[in-house]
Each structure stands twice: as C-alpha cells, then as structure tokens.
Amino acid sequence: MVRPKTKRRETDLSVKIGRIKMKNPVMVASGTFGYGKEYEGLMDISRLGAIVTKTITNDPRSGNPPPRVVETPFGMLNSIGLENDGVDAFIEEKLPYLRKLGIPVIVSIGGEEIRDFARLAKRLNRVSGVAGLEINISCPNIRDQRRKTRSRRLFSQDKNLTFKIVKSVRRATGLTIITKLTPNVTDVAEIARAAQDGGSDALSLVNTYMGMALDISTRKPLLGNVAGGLSGPAIKPLALKAVWDVYNHVSIPIIGMGGIVEINDVLEFLICGATAVALGTTNFVYPNKSIEIIDGLKYYIKSNKLKSLKPLIGSLKT
C-alpha cells in the first residue's frame, strides 16, 4: 500500500495581537480604508489579517475645511480632521457590513476630551462584531491650526494623559486595546511604556508626522487647516526608527506602519520589532497591494524554509 506522503505544511502567517487572532500580520491602517465597503470590488477584503476602521467619535464631526490633501515628494499631507458620522451611525450603518467580512474588526476611537474614549469603549463593548479598539490619541488634525497661538498638545504627546486615557478604556472594556501613538515626540518609548502601563494590549506605530506645504506665489498653505499629517514612503525610515526605539522598551506587540509599499518594507518593520504591520497611504494608490503582500509573505516563508515569521521579529543585528 502506498501511503500518502506527509502533508506539506501550510505556511503559517498567523499572529496574535492581544486576544485577537489574525490569519496573517497584514492590516490596513485607520483612515486609509474607510469602513471597508469602499474597497469592495477592488480586492478580496476578507483575506486581510484585520481591518482598522476610520476613527469614530461619540458625536458626528464634519472635519476640517478643504483642501484636505496635498501630495508631497514620495508622500502626502492630510488634514481630514476625523470627519465621521458618530458612533451610533457607525454601529447602525457601517458595522453590519464589516461583521460579514469574517476578519477581525478593530474600531479606531477618537475624542477631544479624556472621558470621550471610555464612553466610546463602553458603547462598542455592547455590540457584536468588534474584535478590538484602537485608541487614536495621535491625530494631528483635530486642532485648529489657523490660530497663531501655541496649539495644545496631542494626548499622546503626554505620558500622563496617555496612561490616563488607556487606563480609562481598559476599565471600560474587555476588548483588545491597541494604542496608536504619534511619533511627534522627544521620546516615543516613554509614551509607549505609559500606554503599556495603562493596560494597552498592543501599540500602533506610527501615526502621521506633522508637516506643511505652501504656495510661494500666494504665500498660502496648501491645506485648509494650514498643517497636516505626512504619510507615505517618505516617512518609512522615520517610522522604522520609532518601532525600533519602542521595541526594546515594551513587552506588548507593536503594529508597524508608515510608508509600507512592498513586501521588503514589511520585512524591515518585522526585523525592527513589529509583530504585525498596516498599509496606509498605499491603499489609496494600489488598493490590492495588501493582498499581494500577503501572497508575497507566504512565498517568502516557503523559499526561506521558515515555519513562521516569528524569528524575524526584532531580529535586527546591531
């Protein structure tokens, strides 16, 4: 009798972020993927490791004055200003579609007051189909930059506020919590530790870098809100540095993002210490790129005779 040969091992790309099991480490970053449905027909969304929604707030927000986006070398600036219809509309209109995708749905939550975050967490705790929350305390666009006075700091530019907000969300929910941090700080590791101490299960690194673009003939800014957040390939070296800086100072997993376009970018983030990654601006340009990267990672594992991507994580040789 001829026995079938031992079954070839399926490549295992799965990762765990908090209590969320993902079939692969490739996610899509908040604000670059709407609520999923926008990409229907352009790619197989159900193949993603997880989806992070556009940030939602308790009440509807109309966002910043246009123009809201401008292209810069190898990147773009945005100042959308967290435009969204509020949490109730999200649950009623957007969540049913996301639920059907069969992949972990991570809801990005934002606010202007400390108490906004726990309130959102409580509200989302009660509905099915939400796997985790990403606390967005790093959006650079929720302040009016047109005033010439010194602008208030972002929550995640302050370790005490970061700790306080994360802790309040931790108390409000048993869902997996990911805290998204701004890289616009002196020491991002210090903030990352504060998020970990507050009870965050993971970190998203990085949100956008604050920047500006202007027209010298009119001397006017090219964004309606004067300044905005820089994203795209231009920030990849900066984002890698932030991930590496944090990796050595925390024990919770890091989701790396900032300028990922190709599989090699993903591998770089893993080597610097990321457990998972997210594509952002690239979704706008090449909607199917995340899926191509997932296929690429499978091929990479096979051709390098690895069991998983785990040996890569934080394997930077210094």
Partner: protein, 262 residues
C-alpha cells in the same frame, strides 16, 4: 468599479499643453457614464505617488478617451506615456450627469465649458444626442485664448449651436464665457425646458450657478478637488454643501449647483 491595466491606443497633443489619451478598457467603458471619472496612476514609480482623477471625455464600446491639461508632475508624466504601454486605471467612479431623466421630454441643453472643463461635456453631449429624441444644444466654450478653445468641431458635428469666448478676444466673444452666456440667455425672452450643465474653474461655475438660478433653470456642475483615493475612503475631497460636507469623488463629481455653498 474596476482596476485594470488599460492599453494606451494613442496619446496625442491636441493644443499647447493639452493632450488626449485613448485607452482600451472594455470593462470600464461599458459601465462608464458621462460625468464619471477614472483614477490614473500616471507613472509607475512612487513619486508622484497618488493617482490623478480625470473625467471621461469620450465613451465608446471598448474604449474611452481622456482630455487633459499638463498642470503638474502627474499630468506631465502622463503626457510622456507611449502608445502600447499599459496604464493602471480605476473606474468608473463617482456620479455623473443626470442625462437620462431628460429622455422623455424635449430638452434644451445648455452646456458651459471653461478651459479644460470642456472634457466631460463632450461625453455628455454625445450621450444626450443619442438618447434624447427632441433636443436642442447650445454649447458655450470659454478659454484664455483661441489656442485653448477645444473640441469646437466635435460639438458642431453633434449639431450643437456653438458660442465661443476668448478672454483675450482672439476668437469669438471677447471676455468671460459666463458674460457671453448671460448675454445670450437674456436676449431670449424664454427658453423652454432648459437645463444647464457646466464644468470649469470654480469661479466660473459659481457664476453659471447664479445665472441658472436667476433664470430658474436646473443646473448641474462637475467639480474638481484634490483627491487621494477617488473611492470615498480618505475623505480628502470634501466640498461644502447645504447638507454638510460631501465628497467630490463619491457624492459627485457632478452636483446640483443649488446644493453647493460656493
């Protein structure tokens, strides 16, 4: 909405800094409506990074054309693309002109184009000419000078009544196309079943909207705004309307002029 690698059939200069590109893309052209647009990756590299939006200029079976002006690095890169190459295109996107609700009625279509804004109006005119039984066409084309007046012949072929304005007086009416529009509309005592369709610079569209409102004509305008995604994901191309921010890519690019806060 599809993502295709469309073959470039031709990419020709039609006037100084103005080009017309013809693409073979059956799946897109089949679904395309006048006023809708495509997002084009003008060059293969990462700089310029983002796709650029272009309205359909002409929709045919199996093919479509885009008429574009070289403004920045994206359009400059597009102008250098060669016949036979493949262009990465997503479309059709957005909401086009309401060309079909007029079908059953005699229609007096007034098309107003400013500069390169003439691009989507030809697709609209061709659709109207083929789908509306009793139609009268007036097309107002305006530009800085006569070199930049585009598509006159194409509109004439459709039997449209042509009015041209060049700001420098090098052809037709000397001045703004909106002044010519005002002059012509007020010369007539009444225009039955008129509908205005316009595309051009924002100031021009505002002026057209004002004229249409005073004449009580319904008016549709095709807006332009800087876009990143083109599919309603980034919320970058917001425009102020009476019912809050709307996205040019998903809610437009064609809007009822009366809904816009200019």
């Amino acid at each position: 909405m599809r993502l295709v690698k469309a073959k470039i059939v031709s990419n020709k200069k039609v006037a100084a800094g103005r080009f017309k590109i013809r693409l073979a893309a059956p799946s897109i052209s089949k679904a395309a409506e006048p006023g809708q647009f495509v997002m084009v990756k003008c060059s293969d590299g990462l700089d310029p990074l983002l796709r650029r939006p272009f309205s359909f200029h002409r929709i045919e079976r199996g093919f479509f054309e885009l008429l574009y002006q070289v403004i920045g690095r994206g359009t400059a890169a597009l102008s250098e693309r060669k016949k036979g190459e493949r262009l990465d295109v997503i479309g059709p996107l957005g909401n086009g002109f309401d060309a079909l609700s007029a079908k059953r009625y005699p229609l007096n279509a007034i098309l107003v184009a400013g500069g390169i804004g003439v691009a989507p109006l030809l697709a609209l005119a061709e659709r109207l000419a083929h789908s509306v039984e009793r139609i009268a066409f007036s097309i107002f084309i305006g530009a800085r000078n006569k070199e930049h007046l585009l598509c006159e012949k194409d509109f004439k072929k459709l039997g449209a009544r042509l009015y041209v304005a060049a700001e420098d007086g090098s052809k037709g009416y000397k001045g703004l196309v909106t002044d010519l529009l005002k002059k012509e509309l007020y010369a007539k005592r009444s225009t039955l079943n008129a509908k205005v369709y316009a595309c051009g610079p924002r100031d021009m569209l505002k002026a057209v909207a004002d004229i249409a409102r005073l004449k009580h004509f319904p008016c549709e305008v095709s807006l332009e705004e800087k876009m990143a995604c083109g599919i309603g994901a980034c919320l970058g191309c917001a425009v102020k309307t009476l019912i809050g921010h709307k996205m040019v890519c998903k809610d437009g690019p064609v809007f009822n002029a009366g809904d816009i806060i200019w």
